[in-house]
């Protein structure tokens, strides 16, 4: 036969080289932002590269970051979750109420903290399971379900707080401050947990059958079903995982202010989704990467940080710049397809 060339597939394809803009894009954008920040801080003697500033930026991006890692799985599997911001607020409210009400009966503070953590995790788990159940078993569009639960949780926390603020008892508040502010020097607990979740998430997405199934379902649910994949269970697992991570984020968030209010976590869902998309995960599912999401989170929070360092651009334009970056990221994704 003359088909020798065609029968012996080569190992590598050129389009997979490191120069692929799709892979490099988010990294380049992050590098550019860091350079920009360094440049600006050199001119006005601000503290962009100082350990405390970096630690600050990372700690604050940890909440969104942890949630965005979970969101990466949901989106990769062709889903969406708009409820995470309200969910975080609601869980924060629940945790505060639980700890306050037990403060009289339970003496030991560590015990109380553990109970609070347990409450946060189980509430997150339950909330994720509710979203997952409605999406998978009731076959309702994820957008609709989570738009609904977003409103419900937001309203519930407003009701719990009676329109005002829920605050943790003063003694408790001081006791748990280290969960947000403590750690090993500049390496605070939120940073450690974020890093841990991110590394684990990347491994799960890339190396496990679960990650493979998420991408398969997002790519073509029918094919997954015909290939004996338990589509509903995997879908459900993505929402439960996300709920659980919202719980984790809340555990780190509550100690920061020691309170929850109707404005807690507002727009977190959009920031998380934006970070996922900037990182190169495809919004309609089928392909996701956790490391990209992490970079997306860092890009979003650095923009705010840099705007605060300089008077050249008003910090009020933060949202506009983030918007431009999100749109750019999607344009880059599309170019990758057209280029084949």
């Amino acid at each position: 036969m003359t088909g020798a060339a065609a029968t012996a597939p080569q190992r590598r394809d050129r389009s997979h080289s490191l120069l692929d803009l799709h892979v490099l894009g988010p990294i380049l954008a992050l590098a550019a932002l860091i350079l920009l920040g360094t440049g600006i801080s050199a001119t006005n003697e601000s503290t962009f590269l100082s350990a405390s500033n970096i630690s600050n930026v990372l700690s604050r991006s940890a909440f969104i970051g942890i949630i965005a890692v979970g969101m990466t799985f949901v989106i990769t599997a062709g889903g969406l979750d708009l409820s995470v911001g309200s969910m975080a607020a609601f869980i924060a409210g629940l945790v505060i109420l639980t700890m306050n009400s037990l403060a009289g009966t339970v003496e030991s503070v560590p015990m109380l903290v553990l109970v609070g953590m347990g409450a946060a995790l189980s509430a997150g788990l339950a909330a994720g399971a509710i979203n997952g159940f409605l999406v998978t078993n009731m076959r309702i569009e994820a957008f609709i379900v989570t738009l609904g639960t977003m409103g419900i949780y937001r309203s519930l926390v407003t009701w719990l707080a009676d329109g005002g603020t829920l605050s943790l008892d003063f003694t408790l508040r001081t006791a748990i401050r280290p969960i947000y502010f403590g750690g090993f020097g500049w390496l605070t607990w939120p940073i450690i947990v974020f890093a841990f979740v991110a590394v684990l998430g990347e491994l799960v997405m890339r190396r496990t059958a679960f990650g493979r199934y998420c991408a398969a379902i997002g790519s073509n649910e029918q094919v997954a079903r015909y290939s004996s994949v338990n589509v509903n269970r995997v879908r459900m697992a993505t929402y439960v995982l996300l709920g659980l991570l919202v719980g984790v984020a809340t555990i780190l968030y509550v100690p920061r202010l020691g309170s929850a209010s109707p404005t807690t976590g507002v727009l977190w869902e959009l920031e998380a989704i934006a970070a996922v998309i900037i990182g190169g995960t495809v919004l309609k599912g089928g392909f996701g990467r956790v490391w990209g999401t992490v970079i997306g989170v860092l890009i979003l929070s650095l923009i705010g940080n840099i705007l605060n360092l300089t008077d050249a651009v008003s910090p009020y334009l933060n949202g506009a710049i983030q918007g431009v970056i999100i749109i750019l990221a999607v344009v880059l994704q599309r170019e990758k397809k057209a280029g084949t």
Partner: protein, 499 residues
Amino acid sequence: MGDAVTAPLALRDVDRHFGPVQVLHGIGVDLRAGEVHALIGENGAGKSTTMKIMCGFLVPTGGEVLVDGRTRRFADQREAEAAGIVMIHQEFNLAEPLTVEENVFLGAELRRGPLLDKRTMRERTAELLDRLDCRVPPTARVRDLSNPDKQMVEIAKALRQEARVLVMDEPTAVLTTAEVDTLLEQVDRLRAAGTAILFTSHKLGEVKQVADRVTVLRDGRVVHRGPADMSEHAMANAMVGRDVSDLYPAKAAPRGEVALRVEELDVPDHAADVSFELRRGEVLGFAGLIGSGRTEAMEGLVGLRPHRGRIEVDGRSVTIRSPRDAMRVGMVYLTEDRKGRGLLLDKGMRENLTLQSLPDFSGLTVDTAAEERALDDAIARFDVRAPMRDVKVGNLSGGNQQKLLLAKTMLADPEIVIIDEPTRGIDIGTKQQIYKLIRELADEGKAVIVVSSEMQEVIGLATRVLVMREGRIVGALEGDQIDEERINGLQMGLGRAAA
């Protein structure tokens, strides 16, 4: 070439590369007005690519496209359509949520003043469908149509455009024999009206029946061109580059015990009272017209659709609610719809190959090295020909997709294999390989069901044939009884044979 008449469309020395891989080498084709030209070749030979270049969907990386003897560079297919060149794709190109009439007039809507002239469009659509003997109402939504009807809508759309040059990429792959006849009549009509037609099909009988001239491609090169007076066998040999006789391997009588017993299987709205036995070593054929409920019955059997009835595997009664349940008892189903349900088109071969058996490749994490080895084996055993190893499966030719799908199914190491339309859109050389593989499975002692609308295939492969009609089994044929006439009679509802 010294033709007196200039070709309305021709290719000269056309090359095409995809990345580093060259898939077309110096292709030359001339289409003439009032002539049907067949382009044949193995899967992946470059037929679709050639056609796409002719119709402005792809640009050549070398050589030129001539329209009426003059070089043209189409920026896109709209420009080609404006020049009277229309293509019907191998895959459907319809807007699923729209109605039939909206699709037929998509991009060329008729207007009366500022408003759409719906009435005329509906009438013209009805007229076109009528010419095609197609009975779908113009107001039906395309997503609700069966595959053959969709194909007819595609053809109606092309007829509406009154093309000077009509290029059809495997238009008959999803059609029944009767529908193919209707289509070929239309082709005759267009030819008589002076249209230049290029078409491709893996059913060489059709080629023989309708083509005036034939161009044979092999590995992206033209290896033969001439009048269509060659025999089917000669065409097959030219395509494959070796002798293809004995398409079907010799049958062997099944000796094994009963592997699967199905009693009174009901799949609501699709199939009722389906009962049969399947032995190890047996190839059981399911014949019937498209829409007779064979696919749905099989999908019910493996838990892809809700169903009632009793199922026994190896004498033990089993409950099957999902494909996983089916896989657990060693039964797998290979879908007829490889693009929509079989393969993830935007993923590579490795991910696709192991998707169904991923638990076998993963403990805590997926063992990619083992996956790569499985892919090596699959490429060798099923002769999958890919331009490069990490190609997206959507860019494989149809036949190679089918082989990969077969490899994926076999990786699950099933005992009972149900294959739905094993060779749809597959070249004759590959068919021979696939038939041999099916035979080998049976010889290994597996129990095999083949669902096929291609009667020759059922006749050539099966040791026993069940014929379905309107969701029910209407007859069983065995041994010498298996012939075209009997199957035809049963599937058209002309009588019952003893079961």
